[in-house]
């Protein structure tokens, strides 16, 4: 059984895992970080989006061993010192979540969008979210939240 080591939310972790363990399984089971969700089995829904070395990635598309030595940030690592990340705060302010299941992936994906494009148009936001499925909100308030977070980060 290979040993995998990485930094998750700033903390060094190391575990023996079956080689076939996906990163999302590793985070949920070995690290007990259950904020990253599994919503499908075809890498379509985006509920498992985390950041690996600063880039958003679906944690079901990566084996844990492929993240060897990586810096991983999950939804649990986004808020700092008890303060919501501005994207989390924007989702709350604009009611960008209902059941909350897609939310961690949505937020992690949206944070990466603003890293790459600080002033996205509505169309660019909707295009970017193509890989994140939400069944509750109709995306309306998610788009609004991301627009607001973008505006706040520029002002």
């Amino acid at each position: 059984m290979p040993t995998v080591s990485m930094t998750v939310n700033g903390k060094a972790v190391s575990h023996d895992v079956e080689a076939r363990t996906l990163l999302v399984e590793y985070l949920r089971q070995n690290c007990a970080l259950t904020g990253t969700h599994v919503g499908c089995d075809t890498s379509q829904c985006g509920a498992c989006v985390v950041h690996v070395d600063g880039e958003s990635i679906k944690a079901c598309t990566l084996l844990a061993v492929q993240a060897e030595g990586a810096e991983v940030t999950t939804i649990e690592g986004l808020a700092k010192n008890g303060e919501l990340h501005p994207m989390q705060a924007a989702f709350k302010e604009h009611h960008g979540l209902q059941c909350g299941f897609c939310t961690p992936g949505m937020v992690m994906s949206a944070v990466d969008l603003l890293q790459k494009n600080s002033d996205p148009s509505e169309e660019e936001i909707r295009d970017w979210l193509e890989g994140n499925i939400c069944r509750c909100t109709g995306y309306h308030n998610i788009v609004k939240a991301i627009q607001a977070a973008a505006q706040d980060s520029r002002s």
Binding site: Q88, G100, F101, C134, C136, T137, G138, Y139, H140
Partner: protein
């Protein structure tokens, strides 16, 4: 009370921080000490006899704890999963409810049907071992097509012709006569496409048996844990309700699909005692597609008769509705009492007849999905009205208005059993027409034509029956349960309040909305209110969340419990202020002696109730009241949605360029949450009309649309932003004046969008209006034009 938190305020949600920080707790996030994992072997055939199952190799595979089949359940007298609503057919006979065993005994009847369960140390070991099970299947002819069900191979011994029931409402002879005398009859046939609910959280269950206490705990993804407990104990597992606790923690969406009692949670509960370990199962998404109850699936013929002025005279509707392979928990009531009873829509149509034939097909069970029957009814009514407008040349908005039930006609008895309580249908429509600039449509259409696009506009004036439901009414119609709701409101000694509600949020934000209701009633800050839900071990018996009932029924129960708190509080306050109880006035958390400046705050009264040193003689200490609320009638949310689309005839792409919705939900507690519900409902309705379609291959019986690669979910770039507004006609028969908002969007949207698309195309197509279908229709139009 602080500003911005009471009834009517868009208070930010109390539950959000835990969801936003990854601290939500969904069923799959739980792990029990020593748990084993279950994997269900499912039928690869749509219809087959099981001649034998050899589990020996699987049982000895690495890590396997046990393998069970239907025979093991039979030995332990595990019962059939019941349908909780008996529909009586047109001949006075009860519907056919064939046995639905959690694991198949002799036959499988759809692809995904449960054949065996493997329980192992790890999930992958269970899954690997399942491949070693040898099942001797003898394939039987199958049918997945609703329209062909009556002539297909019989699936159940006691359901000849695969007919579950042949039901009617109204007088067929009278309707035929009315239609024969009509000035104009519009005929319209339609298919209401089958959908897969797709809550983002897959279903999951952990059964956990405590041999010391001889008690089970079931952690599960349920919208109504008490109903799950009732059904599992009384009908399936033969347990005392005191011996099963069902807890549904955070639930990641449901839309109906998590109302029902499924095989998996039944087997996990039962097996946890058999193997003496907790047994956990979480669906893979492909299992959700295969075995979550699906929605819709109607084939309908409709006729609408009109007089020379466009007044509706008669509506005749004949529907075949698929039940799938087995009757799911509430399946039978969906195409009858939640469908045919809504066929009056917002109109004064004096004469209505509906015949519904519910049939079995070799597909997953079909049951309530967001709207449940009411979207199907609105689709019939609002499509045929639109077609009638086109045929008669009367403007679609004008035709609807001519037939609206007048504002002063309420309560209004429809010819299909319901009594509408209140409504202002013209007001909502006028507002929507103004918002979308209906008069300016012709100019916008011309502008679209200038750049090669086809533009269409479509209205949908929907109605729904929510607040489900008055127990005596549903009981007389065959429901096996009462549909009241409970609430316990408990003041804690230090002034905080714990509210235990039988409603259960699966995304609706009950913790926020209910806190606002309690805060307003008791005059305490919302942050001092804790809402407890979803756990039979903590909450009084309740009926759960579906049918847009949580606020109208569950919220009303909370108000009644708060009333009892205030009533008792007055006695304590009177004693403390040495006044007569009759002289005590209560307002916003303060008890006053009328006509004086003497007053006591609620917190002091609560403290006194628990520290009763100076207390009314004979009065029980404590401030903890329970209320059960049984609604007097359904509530009737209604409104108008208007969609405007642009179609690219070269690609068949439909762009929704505008969407306005004006809904009347009565009083609104939290407008932010209500708007979110409307957005989500519209998105699901747009999904049905534009993208989503459950397809079983007729030849193989396989589910062709069994993953997100094949079943088209609405994504962010498929949808526009929506413009929504409300009118407010309070519900006259519940204490909050509320009507419910959870399903409206899904009910209104498909008809609005299909009316817009067919308006643009100038011809009919069926849902979903995929690019291919729209493109073909455009090519047909072009060809016709050339000819």
């Amino acid at each position: 009370m602080p500003d911005g938190t009471g009834i009517g305020s868009p208070l930010k949600r109390k539950e959000d921080v835990r969801f936003l920080t990854g601290k939500g707790r969904y069923t799959d996030d739980f792990n029990r000490q020593g748990q084993a994992h279950a994997y269900f072997l499912r039928s690869p055939y749509p219809h087959a006899r099981i001649d034998g199952i050899d589990t020996a190799a699987a049982a000895s595979a690495p890590g396997v704890v046990a393998v069970f089949t239907g025979k093991d359940l039979e030995t332990d007298n595990v019962g059939s999963l019941p349908c909780g609503w008996v529909v009586t057919d047109r001949n006075g006979e009860p519907h056919k409810a064939p046995p639905h065993f959690p694991l198949a005994r002799d036959k499988v009847r759809y692809v995904g049907d449960h054949v065996a369960v493997v329980i192992a140390e790890t999930y992958t070991q269970a899954k690997d071992a399942a491949e070693l099970i040898e099942v001797d299947y003898a394939e039987l002819p199958h049918n997945v097509d609703t329209a062909k069900a009556l002539d297909a191979e019989q699936m159940h011994d006691d359901a000849p012709g695969n007919l579950c029931y042949d039901w009617e409402l109204g007088d067929e002879a009278a309707i035929d006569e009315a239609l024969s005398k009509a000035h104009h009859v519009t005929k319209f046939d339609l298919i209401n496409n089958r959908l897969i609910p797709n809550a983002m959280e897959p279903r999951a269950a952990i059964g956990d048996y405590d041999p010391g206490l001889e008690e089970y705990t079931l952690y599960t993804t349920s919208q109504n844990p008490h109903v799950a407990r009732l059904v599992l104990c009384a009908f399936v597992l033969g347990l005392s309700e005191a011996k099963l606790r069902v807890t549904a923690p955070d639930v990641g969406g449901g839309f109906g699909s998590k109302i029902f009692i499924y095989a998996e949670e039944t087997v996990c509960t039962w097996a946890s005692k058999k193997v003496d370990r907790p047994v956990k199962w979480t669906a893979e998404r492909n299992e959700s597609f295969l075995s979550d109850a699906h929605g819709r699936d109607h084939v309908t013929k409709a006729q609408l008769g009109l007089d020379e002025n466009g007044k509706f005279l008669a509506l005749k509707v004949e529907t075949m509705a698929s039940m799938g392979a087995y009757l799911s928990t509430f399946a039978s009531c969906v195409p009858t009492y939640l469908y045919a009873t809504l066929l009056a829509g917002q109109y004064t149509t004096p004469s209505i007849y509906a015949n519904v034939k519910a049939v079995f097909t070799n597909t997953a069970p079909v049951d309530a999905y967001r709207g449940a029957g009411r979207p199907e009814a609105t689709y019939v009514v609002e499509r045929i009205v639109e077609v009638a407008a086109r045929e008669t040349g009367i403007d679609p908005a004008e035709l609807r208005k001519r037939n609206f039930i007048a504002d002063d006609a309420f309560p209004y008895q429809t010819p299909v059993a319901l009594t509408y309580d209140s409504g202002q249908y013209g007001l909502a429509m006028d507002k929507a027409l103004e918002m979308i600039d209906y008069k300016g449509f012709a100019a916008r259409k011309a502008e679209s034509e200038n750049h090669g696009k086809l533009r269409g506009i479509g209205l949908s004036a929907y109605i729904e029956a929510c607040g489900i439901a008055p127990s005596a009414v549903v009981g007389s119609l065959g429901a096996g349960v009462g549909l009241w709701e409970s609430a316990q409101v408990r003041f804690n000694a230090t002034g905080t309040v714990s509210v235990f509600t039988g409603s259960h949020s699966h995304g609706q934000g009950h913790e926020t909305t209910f806190s606002q209701v309690v805060s307003e009633a008791l005059g305490i800050p919302v942050e001092n209110v804790e809402i407890v839900h979803g756990d039979t071990g903590r909450v009084p018996m309740g009926m759960g969340t579906y049918g847009s009932r949580s606020l109208a029924v569950g919220g009303s129960a909370i108000v009644r419990a708060c009333d009892k708190i205030i009533e008792k509080g007055k006695k304590i306050a009177a004693h403390l202020m040495e006044a007569s109880v009759d002289d005590i006035e209560y307002e916003a958390g303060t008890f006053r002696v009328a006509g004086t400046d003497k007053e006591k705050a609620m917190a002091e009264i609560a403290f006194t109730a628990y520290v009763p040193h100076n207390y009314p003689e004979g009065l029980e200490p404590g401030l903890d009241e329970t209320a059960f609320y049984d609604p007097l009638n359904f509530t009737y949310p209604a409104g108008t949605h208007i969609a405007e689309v642009e179609v690219d005839p070269d690609t068949g792409e439909v762009e929704i360029v505008d969407w306005v919705a004006v809904d009347d939900f009565g009083k609104i507690v939290n407008p932010m949450i209500v708007e979110g519900q409307v957005h989500g409902g519209i998105a699901q309705g747009v999904g049905q009309a534009l993208l989503e379609n459950c397809v079983y291959d007729s030849e193989s019986g396989q589910l062709t649309t069994g993953s997100y690669m094949d079943y088209t979910m609405p994504r962010a770039d498929d949808l526009p932003s929506f413009r929504i507004d409300t009118t407010e006609t309070p519900c006259p028969h519940n204490p909050l004046g509320v009507k419910g908002c959870g399903e409206a969007g899904a009910i209104a949207a498909p008809a609005a969008l299909m009316n817009a698309i067919t308006n643009a195309l100038g011809r009919e197509i069926e849902m979903p209006a995929t690019c291919e279908k729209v493109w073909r229709a455009c090519q047909g139009s072009a060809k016709q034009a050339a000819e």
